[in-house]
Symmetry: C2
Subunit: 162 residues, 2 copies
DNA sequence: CGCCGTGGGTTCATGGAATGAACTGACTCA
DNA sequence: TGAGTCAGTTCATTCCATGAACCCACGGCG
């Protein structure tokens, strides 16, 4: 996308998946839509763009092109472990959309497979053994420390995400 | 962006923030970079694009334009509660980038403000009182049920994200 | 055999969006 | 009076997304 390498992990991630079509392709991969023509029909995406995005995702190791039959040769694009680990990002987007952009339909429910109860996505403190909201995140002094803050600068200096 | 209204929450979210620049602008807002010229310099973004993205974000209620002084009139773009709740998505992207696209630098550490310990982001089952990996998410039967799966279709039918 | 249908692409002309340089305008300060 | 800063807008150029058309391997059908 851009030329120079990015210092920030978010920026680096966006080099690969920072594109509307790319994220929709990944969403469909999670939904089980993994073949070229299925994707093209479901997303109503232009063929060259789809081919380009799939190529990019394969090149970066997010998807894997697998021939699932010969005669005729047919292949599908499967999520690699790297791709599967994008699910927290997709779930976060889904939650946000459900909360703020709902059309009135019931929100999507995800459940813990082993027990069947509805699950939450959130921040979890292993020490306190509890989840908490984004507002309770703070920086840690030292290298690599960062904070996501909604506070104003005047309320006190903070470290930053980078 | 597109014309027709989207049925899927992820697609609806992407209508607003499905753009590389938009996400970088939000990242900077969390980092405390909230003024037009600060953003322009930090992101090296073209002015018209920045103006357009900020306008969109304000229109959708993600950012709020606040005049923080008169004489001379200066304003900044603050995250609304709706904007703050995008942090899980940004953190997920950061985590993913840290894990798979690292340049060797130590990953960013986020800590629980009230106790100071490093926090995790993940899926949490309030019933089992434990976190778990993306692979353990399943669908729930009924309206709005969904699943994020890395499994192959042949291993069994599933509901889908929508 | 001849022909149609399907899956998975590539090529190419076009339009709309991103880019960056230049300009505007309100205000401050020396 | 003039230079500097912040926050944009205007405009010409460039680039990429789009969609139509085309290609090719293969299978099925009559």
């Amino acid at each position: 996308m851009t030329g120079e390498p990015q210092a920030c992990s978010i920026a680096r991630s966006l080099e690969i998946i920072g594109d509307r079509w790319t994220i929709l392709i990944l969403r469909d991969a999670f939904r089980g839509i993994r073949r070229f023509d299925e994707l093209r029909r479901d997303l109503d995406i232009a063929r060259p763009v789809l081919a380009d995005r799939l190529r990019r995702l394969v090149d970066h190791g997010v998807l894997q092109k697998v021939q699932y039959q010969q005669h005729p040769p047919r292949s599908e694009y499967r999520l690699t472990p790297m791709g599967v680990e994008l699910s927290p990002a997709l779930v976060a987007l889904m939650r946000w959309g459900d909360k703020y952009l709902s059309d009135g339909a019931p929100p999507t429910v995800l459940v813990h497979e082993t027990c069947g109860n509805a699950l939450e996505q959130g921040f979890w403190c292993p020490h306190c053994r509890q989840t908490f909201s984004p507002a309770e995140i703070a920086s840690r002094p030292g290298p690599g420390a960062a904070v996501l803050t909604d506070e104003l600068p005047t309320r006190g200096p903070r470290a930053h995400i980078h």
